[in-house]
Amino acid sequence: MTKPENEWTWKELTVGNVILEPGNASQYRTGDWKTLMPVLEKNLCIHCGLCYIYCPDMAYTLDAEGFFIADSFYCKGCGICAKECPTGAIKMVLEQEE
């Protein structure tokens, strides 16, 4: 979106509210829905990528050191990654005020 949706007037909407910009759901912050945040204990991680595979929001990305890290912009805190992690390396912790 060219500007935040709460700034659009009714006259500016496209006919039929069609979205012309493919993939702009990536601009939608779902990360502020969560109360719990996944935290990775790196010495337990075996780099299997199950957290990446199971994440329903594709919030996980591979970092330069080969660890999968959840992007807090998208992560909704559902905890599926922590449940599926075979070594128990992911813990769900209460998100702290920044």
Binding site: E5, W8, W10
Partner: protein, 391 residues
């Protein structure tokens, strides 16, 4: 002038869909809509029409198919009745905000229960607020004509809205009438190919039907509301162009011997024909009675209606659906609101009549007018009753 031949109204409606060069037809059979789609399936199967006919498993799917096909730019048509419309209703609300100009003929039939296959307007009133443009037809010729009018209007870039053509079940759908068919060359000129603004196409990906957060939903609804309200000049323009082509001019509110009338009957759909016979009889007896026929139900033609009832003392509204537990029939309730701000407004006496296809003869209209006039004289200015019920 085109050929005038006797044919069943449903068949004439199907012929109109063929002549309108529709690309996709999707429907599920239900009485009394059946003859329209049966005939269309024959036309397509015989190769007389270059269209896809989708046999689906429900009305919900019938309209869903049309949403998909219309979104790709294919001119699409569906047709249903009563319970079928009820099953379809989820999708009927989705089409207008998507601005897909699908056309649907609704062979109006009673909603169950008690189970009934006959004609009234309870089906369409259940989706009154869904946002489709809605015409009510008085006879078979109007049904045939309004298929072309509906596509021309709906597909106009300033409108881009779906249109329902209401055709009273059996009373119109199964009756043989003289229909003046329009030459194909004329239709082709009146109804150019559909040119949508946005279509679903892999080369130009767009999202249709996305969700809206509360922060933008109201803006989307306002845009939809403004577009249907401001479509009235275009509706008039399309009727004018159609009239110039055929000599049949239509208007949102049609009046019959209404000038100077103290009492005005108000009808929608096929009841207008019988009511006009009753008006003739009452006029012969020197009574000051006229008739108003509402042809355009959505968007409601507020100004034309106010203009038509300006001089009347009382309106006798014939509703064909019950708003159970509500303030009267749906039409009368709306008409009362429309004139409420006018100090010299006429009284509105509301009869629900002819539900589930019960006959309403000219003598019934006369009785209703007499009853309403008497009640109003006695001070019951805003009455409501279901007419002809055995006590």
């Amino acid at each position: 002038m085109g050929k005038r031949i006797g044919m069943e109204v449903s068949i004439a409606a199907a012929e109109a869909v063929k002549q309108a060069n529709v690309d996709v037809i999707s429907a599920y059979p239900i009485t009394p809509q059946t003859h329209v789609v049966e005939h269309l399936s024959e036309i397509v199967a015989n190769g007389e029409m270059d269209a896809e006919f989708f046999c689906v498993e429900s009305e919900h799917s019938a309209l869903s198919v049309c949403v998909g096909s219309e979104a790709t730019g294919a001119r699409s048509f569906t047709c249903t009745s009563s319970q079928g419309l009820a099953l379809m209703s989820e999708i009927t609300y989705i089409v207008p905000p998507l601005r897909l100009p699908i056309v649907m003929i609704l062979a109006n039939r009673t909603l169950s229960a008690p189970l009934s296959i006959w004609n009234d307007h309870s089906d369409v009133m259940s989706i009154r607020d869904c946002g489709w443009i809605q015409y009510f037809c008085e006879n078979g010729q109007e049904v045939y004509d309004h298929v072309f009018i509906a596509y021309r209007l709906g597909e106009d870039r300033d409108v881009l809205l779906p249109v329902i053509v209401n055709m009273d079940g059996f009373t119109l759908s199964h009756v043989i009438e003289p229909i003046e068919l329009i030459e194909q060359e004329k239709i082709d000129k009146f109804l150019p190919p559909y040119k949508p603004i946005y279509t679903l196409h892999p080369d130009h990906p767009v999202t249709m039907g996305a969700f809206a957060l509360p922060s933008i939903f109201a803006e989307a609804k306002k845009a939809q509301e403004v577009v249907i309200r401001s479509s009235i000049p275009k509706i008039l323009e399309v009727w004018k162009a159609f009239g110039d082509m055929t000599g049949r001019y239509y208007s949102p509110i049609e009046t019959y011997r209404a000038e100077d009338a103290e009492t005005l009957l108000v009808t929608m759909g096929s009841f207008g024909e019988t009511a006009s016979v009753a008006v003739d009889k009452m006029r012969e007896e020197g009574k000051s009675v006229g008739l108003i026929k509402i042809r355009l139900w959505r968007p409601f033609p507020l100004e034309a209606f106010k203009q038509a009832v300006r001089q009347a003392k009382q309106l006798v509204v014939i509703d064909r659906a019950v708003s159970v537990g509500g303030p009267g029939g749906p039409v009368a309730s709306e008409l009362r609101s429309a004139i409420y701000a006018d100090d010299a407004r006429p009284s509105v006496y509301d009869f629900v009549a002819g539900i589930s296809g019960r006959d309403v003869a000219p003598s019934d209209y006369i009785q209703m007018v007499e009853k309403a006039e008497m009640e109003i004289r006695e001070g019951n200015r805003e009455g409501f009753e279901i007419y002809g019920v055995r006590e």
